[in-house]
Symmetry: C2
Subunit: 144 residues, 2 copies
């Protein structure tokens, strides 16, 4: 049913291959984080806030490599779910995890682990490490 990326006429184009891979990985990640009813992005934002309570949107944008506006949107949703609260003073905003978020932390860690195990078992232990390193290196080169 589902076609291999290598069978496509566009298998040698970076746009095509990187987005095809990202979609596959995202789909896999979605399944893992479904059990906590969060998208991977929301989950990673939440984990960042749990590790550094009070973190500001700007820093979150850098950490997660997303635009500030996207961060605002992600926070809004987490706020609706009562997982974070925002306090604004002056032009700065701080984002804090709620007790509910803290309760969720073990489960979040479990999702990370599950996801990691899943792709490692498919790609291979050594190769996944190498691959992720390569991805990071190339992404860095593309940083303007």
């Amino acid at each position: 049913m589902s076609m291999k990326t290598s069978d496509s006429q566009y298998a040698e184009c970076l746009y095509f291959t990187s987005s095809a891979l990202a979609r596959k990985v995202e789909k896999m990640a979605n399944e893992c984080w479904k059990q906590v009813d969060l998208s991977p992005s929301h989950a990673y934002l939440l984990m960042a806030v749990l590790e550094e309570p009070g973190m500001q949107p700007g820093n979150l944008a850098e950490q997660l490599q997303l635009t500030p506006s996207t961060i605002t949107r992600l926070i809004e949703k987490l706020e609706e779910k009562k997982l974070v609260i925002r306090t604004t003073e002056g032009k700065l905003t701080n984002v804090y995890p709620t007790p509910k978020a803290k309760d969720l932390q073990p489960e979040l860690r479990n999702c990370v682990h599950e996801f990691h195990t899943k792709y490692t078992s498919i790609i291979g232990k050594e190769e996944s490490i190498r691959f992720v390193k390569t991805l990071t290196k190339i992404a860095d080169k593309l940083t303007d």
Copy 2:
């Protein structure tokens, strides 16, 4: 200003790195195809139809590794721009390029070339080839 992927706390996670890369590549591709006022996806779909007039949505979905519903949406937009026409008979649909699309073909090829040149100059000739091959290989492994 813009942070490197390797500086993120999540630089060792496949979800994070693959989506960060895809976003950067997509941004770069967007710039290239702006001159023909198309997103990369629309452009690739159009090129596929130009190379094989009458191609059906199902095959396009496979080639481009997108879902059928996404293909329908992309076609709708290209139809609005008078770049393709759809003819439906029975349960099958054929997508054909218009003369306007054919006129655009050289420019499209130019975009592909420009994009390719751009990322090759950043990543390096040999390394981009190797990298795209790796991406394809891993994407294939992730195919369910």
